[in-house]
Symmetry: C2
Subunit: 329 residues, 2 copies
Amino acid sequence: MNEQIILKSRPKGKPELKDFEFQEFEEKNSQDLVLETKYISVDPYLRGRMRDEKSYIEPFKVGEPLESMVVAEVTDSKIEDFKKGDHVIGMLDWKKKQHHSGKDLRKIDPNMAPASAYLGVLGLTGLTAYLALDKIGKLKKGETLLVSGAAGAVGSVVGQIGKIKGCRVVGIAGSDEKIEHIQKKFGFDAGINYKTTKNMKDAIKKTCPDGVNVYFDNVGGEILDAALQNINKAARIINCGAISIYNETEVPTGPRPEGILIKKSALMQGFLVRDHMEDYQKAISDLAGWLKSGDLKYDETIVEGFDKTPQAFIDIFDGKNLGKMVVKV
Amino acid sequence: MNEQIILKSRPKGKPELKDFEFQEFEEKNSQDLVLETKYISVDPYLRGRMRDEKSYIEPFKVGEPLESMVVAEVTDSKIEDFKKGDHVIGMLDWKKKQHHSGKDLRKIDPNMAPASAYLGVLGLTGLTAYLALDKIGKLKKGETLLVSGAAGAVGSVVGQIGKIKGCRVVGIAGSDEKIEHIQKKFGFDAGINYKTTKNMKDAIKKTCPDGVNVYFDNVGGEILDAALQNINKAARIINCGAISIYNETEVPTGPRPEGILIKKSALMQGFLVRDHMEDYQKAISDLAGWLKSGDLKYDETIVEGFDKTPQAFIDIFDGKNLGKMVVKV
């Protein structure tokens, strides 16, 4: 029997194990490809799809299997482009095995980088870091780049690209270990542990003495407020994620930003990597080059076992991952 | 004796007459130019300079004369570039007469357009409308442009440029008369009276059935919130003014925008016309061309009398002006 994970109920606030259900099922459709799931990506943005509201991507349906980016191995194929043993990446169901048409699947080369890396540094998280900085950040040498979620999959790549571009890079993360880690492993110039810092505004001021030119925001909320109070003229704020408000059940409120944006001629811009598919190839090629040269390093937290997928997803919201969170099936 | 208007006290909340003082004084400095004030521009942004805080422009000092854009006539000159009878525009003190070095003054031609127009449609307000749309709005034919403060000096020019560019243009203003006026005189497609509208979100939805591509915000606050709830993918929000929060004494709060910005890959960007001086000439030339062709019309509210200047400034916050508010001395 095959096994799948469905959305049992829409989470209220933080997702809980009871919102998920494991089901045994028999595949009834037969399609050209049969895939065996190898790695499942669990990402904060999936929380948004668990709400029953229109967004840039369809919401999950209660009672239906969840999906995310998955690396799978082809175990049977009637399509010329894919053969048995190929590794593919795509938006796939949380099933141990699945049939698939092959549409929107991409072949990957597990010899160039570990298969799991295609879910992270060479996948959507690496692309997000690269393309958001390219399209909105427009870093100039000598500028100061502030990054929240700095030890995360996106944030750690953001910081390293900042160093490659010759910027001062300051990271915000949730433990002293993470702060030490981003400085030692990824070359951040300074870090702020937001959990032990009372006054974030002052802490940013201290670590960014020349002010903030680019703030790469993965968290939203009060850390964004504090960053806004430290921006320079013509600053760029990249709204890439807002994990601090994803689990809010009421409309989150905070200080209005429009006054500061006007005063500083600054910009805040939402970024979705899917808007920039035409630039993926160039980005992956640069990222792969930096991986090869050693300028770009990455972390991943690999949780083993298909049955651990919901807990791995929940753990992201408690910051239990270091870098990209991936489930090995 | 000469006369000047000083900032007597920093306003708390809305400015009041007691915050201003008229003083007779004798000019002690002698400089190369002697100017006689003809028209004084009163603008919402001056409220910001009355606070004791660093901004893009120095705050006013208590006990010192106020200043704004002024049209003056040269009554005496020791400089070759200016001669008696010339009209000039520049950032000048609120004085009936003043001596000046000539630095940063610009000659205007009162035969091409009325002198007061250089404080409005051909001055910073017209330039603001033109350049903010050019730099941030990037209007495309067929898009929907929403404008707040639509009957104001900036808003009315914004709307007309929107029509010139082939957009659907919807204006928000504070009375039925203003709404009728922007449709009849400036060609807006629809309007919303925010004072009599209970649900701004729904009203915007109704008047912008295809969603909002560009929102030109002169007011901030709750109208901005309502606009954000109606934006399309890749919308551009121009934060040009925030008159609704300028008089707040506490940090104004509201729904956090970061979630919507991410969902819609949208942009909010503060705009200061002074950042774009290199583009003034091209902009004035286009605006003057549209004035000539009749595509661009403007309103001005001219208040007569130097002694009416503080009240004219206060009246802006009650929306008593139609178009640019100017004091004729």
